[in-house]
């Protein structure tokens, strides 16, 4: 890989095990600003577990996070958010009984001068960002349980985008979406990339990987198989890495 200076984020030598099973085993990945790195592998390869260490949901047994070359401690989701790391979870992590605005600002509610939650302001802000992301979205005053899969997804995405993330983690953001909404997410990723965000993208669809990602890190059984520059390999090469667990010849 050509030297592009200090990566935006580097996860160095991460390991975590659950009940004796090594879910992540000495994995090192990095991400530059304005770059999309795909995390690939079978179900159970350890991709989601790895990024949950970065987002603070899990505490790794070993491993260090460097952001712009500085070592940082991430022990819980608050720490991650403080480092401008935002995550869109596969499960979306929405509180079904709350409306879009409450979910968007969950844990970071806007308060007025008296310290009370400013509901109207949050709704107004939500309307603004949703108008940008998904102009058809109208259901602001119903619990998110009443929304369609795509609408719920846009709430989860809005939450990550609203707070000026520098590092975005997307865990299968298009898994529950129709073709039109998938296209919308793809355009959003392109736009965020242009704005200089670094994005970790967990994705199963190899075509999306080829289209959206700059690099791809492939995992198998908790271990990193290898990282490749997407434009130097074919989709067959990447599939080979995922299935056989062997690095491609041109591994970067």
């Amino acid at each position: 890989m050509t030297d592009r200076g200090t990566p935006l984020v580097e996860m160095r030598d991460f390991s975590i095990s659950f009940g004796g099973i090594k879910a992540v085993d000495h994995v090192t990945v990095d991400l530059h600003a304005g770059e999309v790195v795909g995390l690939l592998g079978h179900n159970g390869a350890g991709k989601s577990t790895l990024i949950k260490c970065l987002s603070g949901a899990y505490q790794a047994d070993a491993g260090e996070v460097y952001i712009n070359g500085q070592k940082v401690e991430i022990n819980n989701p608050r720490d991650a958010r403080a480092q401008n790391i935002e995550t869109i979870y596969q499960t979306l992590a929405l509180a079904d009984n709350l409306d879009a605005a409450s979910n968007l600002f969950l844990g970071r509610e806007l308060v007025n001068s008296m310290g009370f939650v400013d509901e109207s302001k949050m709704e107004a802000e939500t309307r603004k960002i949703m108008h940008r992301l998904n102009p058809n979205f109208q259901k602001f005053n119903v619990p998110v349980s009443a929304l369609s899969g795509g609408q719920r997804q846009s709430v989860a995405i809005a939450r990550a985008v609203y707070f000026n993330a520098k590092i975005l983690i997307m865990d299968e953001p298009t898994a529950a979406l129709g073709p039109q909404e998938t296209q919308m997410v793809a355009e959003l990723i392109e736009e965020l990339k242009k704005q200089g965000l670094g994005i970790f993208l967990i994705e199963h669809d190899i075509h999306n990987v080829m289209k959206l990602c700059d690099r791809a890190s492939v995992m198998m059984n908790g271990k990193l198989v290898g990282t490749v520059n997407v434009d130097e390999v074919t989709d067959e090469d990447i599939l080979g890495m995922i299935i056989l667990g062997k690095p491609a010849a041109q591994a970067a």
């Binding site: 989701p77 992590a93 079904d96 009984n97 709350l98 970071r108 310290g115 939650v117 109208q138 259901k139």
Partner: protein, 442 residues
């Protein structure tokens, strides 16, 4: 409710295809569940009254005296029900609140009757303050301990508080060796109501007018806030209707509590003490709002603000809706659970104040079975045991429904066994109705 901003193009509002009733509810934004509960309450009240009229020749339910007593009897359960809402919303349960009433009341009884007078002198003005603070702190501490076992030691809330029920009830007995502590401090006893523990006619009018001003201010501030953010405004007639309704209910209750005079014996005692000549036709001195009822109202308002206007309240709902999502959003869910149980314990301590003050004594059986009535009140008030849903006003109304049933049955002469059967059936039926309502409104 599809609030639609005028700034965006969107789906046409479906005002036209709604019935007048539907349009009315939409414009005033009155919660249909609230209407249902008030309807049920009215049914109970009028039912008992006219049962009395038909069977006994006289109805006793819809009288100032009974309704005033009803309000006092509801206070202690109502205070605890507001805390139980939070516990149940976060998918927990607290079975220990009745025992907490017992143990806090007993400790407060010993403190104010046997310990504090030694240091401060009998009847000292600060005895009641120290006692109340100690009682609520004790409740909060025990609650926090329960919460710690639940959140940080992973013991299910059901087990922790079931154990707590037995432990604290037993402790209440041991604290005074099973004795009844009586009478309590004179000022303290005012917190339980009674002729002296009410604020009288003038005081009630002041409270009522302040409350009216509060209602009007809320409507005005709410309208301004909506205008500032370009949200849909209620039509002016709907705002007027809400204002008139709110103030009407408040002034109506002032008139009601002022229509209930002190009993003759109390008047004679009061007159003798203050050297007043009682005229031949008698003196009419109004009770006015009872102090425990005012405590309940203040608790209800504070808890409503806590639940709807603070981050704490947001997190309670979020934890109930999706605990995992709440944790991923950076909410310290364990610390929240501990705080919720501490709050519940503090409210149980306050209920202990009201209950023992009303009885003018502390007994180890005080608050027996209260946990069931408190949980029932919260659930009848629309708090979902599945978590995530519930309101403070609903729980207070639920407590009022429970208490209305009970005292109604006492008034028409049903015995305890029948009362239990009816209350049990109503609880099950209310939750069934609630399920129907929820599945319809989805």
């Amino acid at each position: 409710m599809a609030d639609i901003p005028p700034t965006t193009s969107d789906i046409p509002s479906n005002d036209a295809d709604q019935s007048p009733v539907g349009r009315f509810l939409r414009a005033t934004e009155i919660d249909t569940r609230l209407l249902g509960m008030i309807g049920a309450l009215m049914l109970i009240w009028f039912g008992f009254h006219f049962y009395g009229v038909l069977v006994n020749g006289q109805g006793f339910f819809l009288t100032p005296r009974n309704l005033w007593n009803l309000s006092v009897q509801t206070s202690s359960i109502g205070i605890m029900a507001t805390g139980m809402v939070l516990v149940i919303i976060t998918r927990n349960i607290d079975l220990s609140v009745g025992a907490l009433v017992g143990v806090t009341a007993m400790v407060m009884g010993i403190l104010q009757v046997e310990i504090l007078p030694q240091y401060l002198g009998l009847g000292h003005g600060s005895i009641w303050i120290v006692t109340v603070i100690v009682g609520m702190t004790l409740g909060a501490t025990i609650g926090a301990f329960h919460g710690w076992l639940i959140a940080y030691r992973g013991i299910p809330a059901f087990i922790v508080t079931l154990g707590g029920l037995l432990i604290w009830r037993g402790s209440a007995f041991l604290a005074a060796g099973g004795k009844t502590i009586s009478p309590v401090d004179e000022t303290f006893s005012l917190l339980g109501g009674g002729p002296y523990g009410a604020i009288g006619s003038t005081g009630s009018w002041i409270v009522g007018l302040l409350a009216c001003a509060g209602v009007l201010w809320m409507l005005y501030a709410g309208r301004n806030n909506r205008r500032r953010h370009d949200f849909r405004l209620r039509p002016m007639w709907a705002e007027t209707f809400l204002g008139v309704l709110g103030c009407g209910v408040i002034i109506g209750s002032v008139l009601l509590v002022n229509a209930y005079p002190w009993p003759k014996g109390i008047i004679r005692q009061y007159a003798a003490r203050n050297n007043i000549e009682v005229p031949a036709e008698g003196l009419f001195i109004s009770h006015g709002f009872a102090i425990p009822v005012l405590i309940l109202i203040v608790v209800g308002i504070l808890m409503t603000i806590l639940m709807t206007r603070t981050r704490f309240g947001r997190y309670v709902f979020a934890i109930g809706g999706n605990p995992e999502a709440a944790a991923l959003a950076g909410i310290n869910t364990r610390w929240m659970v501990l705080k919720i149980f501490a709050l519940m314990g503090m409210l149980a301590g306050l209920a202990g104040v009201v209950a023992s003050a009303r009885l003018n004594s502390a007994t180890n059986a005080l608050g027996l079975l209260d946990e069931l009535y408190v949980i029932a009140a919260a659930v009848i008030g629309g708090t979902s045991l599945a978590g995530g849903v519930g309101t403070i006003y609903g729980a207070i109304l639920g407590a009022l429904v429970m208490q209305s049933l009970q005292s109604g049955m006492v008034l028409i002469g049903f015995d305890t066994a029948i009362q239990q059967i009816v209350v049990g059936m109503v609880l099950v039926f209310a939750v069934y109705l609630d399920n129907l309502y929820r599945s319809k409104s989805k």
